[in-house]
């Protein structure tokens, strides 16, 4: 059975923060999986990144349950506070922001993942509190 490519790519991202061209070439040499296939897989999934990301990756949910619980205002608040839009990374390389699909916290909406950790029942005050603690 061949190596599980998805698992390999996750390992790379965990180590380097993102999946670089160099890392893809290295993986190609190691596994023999064609470059195009690795790149195809790496660019397909929302949680795999082929560009450098900030130290903290914020994935904020805007699916219906969160949308019905004021997620748009929370998203706007974060965008203004960090001065970045979805898909961008702040100049000081501290934060990356992604507006995404449901993260399964619909009973505690609105919600987000910060470096894969769940933060729920978000309010502007809570966002202030969470972001302040990060260095």
């Amino acid at each position: 059975m061949p190596d599980l490519l998805l698992t390999e790519l996750r390992k790379i991202q965990k180590k380097d923060g993102y999946i670089s061209e160099q890392a893809i070439k290295k993986l190609n040499k190691k596994t023999g999986i064609p470059l195009s296939n690795i790149y195809g897989t790496a660019t397909f999934y929302a949680m795999l990144h082929t560009t450098p990301q900030g130290k903290y990756i914020i994935e904020i949910c805007n699916s219906p349950s969160c949308f019905l619980n004021n997620s748009l205002n929370i998203i706007k608040y974060i965008e203004n506070k960090l001065k970045i839009k979805s898909g961008q990374t702040s100049k000081d390389k501290k934060f990356s922001l992604h507006i995404g699909s449901c993260i399964g916290c619909c009973d505690k909406a609105p919600a987000m993942l910060l470096n894969k950790k769940q933060y729920t029942n978000l309010t502007k005050e809570k966002i202030d509190f969470i972001l302040k603690k990060l260095k």
């Binding site: 599980l4 195809g40 397909f44 949680m47 699909s101 449901c102 993260i103 399964g104 909406a109």
Partner: protein, 372 residues
């Protein structure tokens, strides 16, 4: 709650005593239906894999719970993961699989370590997804585990014949597998108890275990909504309908309203929210999650979103509603996989039951333009 009961390995022991065929027959007799949304009889699926002459077989536990508003699998994996692992072991034994995979969605990565501890020496591998709604589809999940882009395969051949690495594969949902040990061990196991994920404009959202046939309004009452509930969405793919006293939570009753009972997802929308805005939000979801394999879904979801944004933000005509309807029907009929085919259910049902809201929004804008 039935789902919180434990079997502590006794169900697996009983299955081994019974043997493969008798275990499959027991699951068939107990009428365990798949809980991922399609409701396919689990015993029948296992039997199909069991009957394949191929030696190598696989079992996949589908923990890629991506449907917006659904969090029942997360609930089970948090509260009673032991049951799921035992269910996987029983399924592996019944179909004759030496290896199993748990496809855990990327958003639930925090559950990985606890599951790993429970697996111990069993030949079960966890593959963590990376954020793709399409991977909940049973053939896309195969592609994803094989390390490819998670795009659906053409059926037939069905996974039970040619699945993972071309070998016969059974793919079962988390809630299904959690019910396997319960069905085998407990004589009074109730196949009609379902987990409903309630969210939206309610003050008490959460998981409610209720029997099929419960009145929808009784579930909404449990959620204690602050304002009057106007519409119910059965996830994004299940469509919407007006909230009424009579509807019962059964696949038949809800299908009669053009919606899909699916995996028990209930999103309540109150009077303060516009269906046009909810439709635009869901359209954005599908535009983002369309995998790009087939044209109707890839291009269609994009056009649907553009038309809806036009209605909700800029200027649209009554004619646009007909275009929207026609396009939605074409996407439904011509898309390659389930994602595309169900991607416009929400819109078709919204246009059927809440067309007035769309018309009013268009009129509002026209009036505003005239004043200017």
């Amino acid at each position: 709650m039935q789902i919180k009961k434990q079997t502590k390995g006794k169900a697996l022991a009983k299955a081994k005593k019974l043997g493969q065929k008798a275990t499959i027959n027991l699951i068939k007799e107990k009428v365990l239906l798949g809980r991922g949304g399609a409701g396919f009889p689990t015993g029948t699926k296992w039997e199909m894999v069991y009957n394949e002459p191929e030696k190598e077989k696989y079992l996949i536990c589908n923990a890629d719970e991506g449907e917006p508003g659904t969090f029942k699998d997360k609930f089970i994996l948090e509260k009673n993961p032991e049951l799921v692992i035992e269910g996987i072991k029983i399924a592996m034994f019944a179909i004759g699989a030496k290896k199993a995979f748990i496809y855990l969605r990327g958003e639930y990565e925090y559950l990985e370590n606890r599951l790993k501890k429970l697996i111990k020496k069993a030949n079960i591998e966890i593959v963590v997804g990376a954020g793709a709604y399409i991977c909940g589809d049973e053939t896309a999940i195969l592609e994803s585990i094989e390390g490819k882009r998670g795009q659906a395969r053409l059926k037939p051949p069905f996974p039970t014949v040619k699945g993972l690495y071309g070998k016969p594969t059974a793919i079962n949902n988390v809630e299904t597998l959690a019910n396997v040990p319960l069905a085998i061990y407990y004589k009074d196991w109730n196949p009609n108890l379902r987990l409903y994920s309630l969210s939206g404009n309610v003050t008490k959202p959460g998981i409610y275990e209720l029997p099929l046939g419960t009145k929808l309004c009784d579930l909404i009452k449990l959620g204690k909504p602050k304002n009057k509930i106007k519409a119910i969405y059965f996830g994004c793919f299940g469509g919407c309908m007006p909230h009424c006293e009579k509807t019962k939570l059964t696949p038949d009753d809800i299908c009669g309203k053009d919606c899909i009972h699916g995996a028990g997802t209930i999103i309540a929308v109150d009077e303060k929210h516009s269906i046009v805005d909810v439709a635009t939000n869901i359209a954005k979801f599908y535009e983002f999650e369309s995998c790009g394999k087939c044209t109707p879904c890839r291009e269609g979801t994009m056009r649907i979103l553009a038309l809806l944004e036009n209605i909700s933000l800029k200027n649209a005509d009554m004619k646009d509603l007909n275009t929207l309807q026609e396009l939605a029907e074409v996407i439904k009929e011509t898309s390659f996989c389930g994602l595309g085919q169900t991607s416009t259910n929400h819109l078709l049902t919204a246009l059927k039951y809440f067309r007035k809201e769309f018309e009013e929004r268009i009129k509002e804008q026209k009036d505003r333009r005239r004043i200017r």
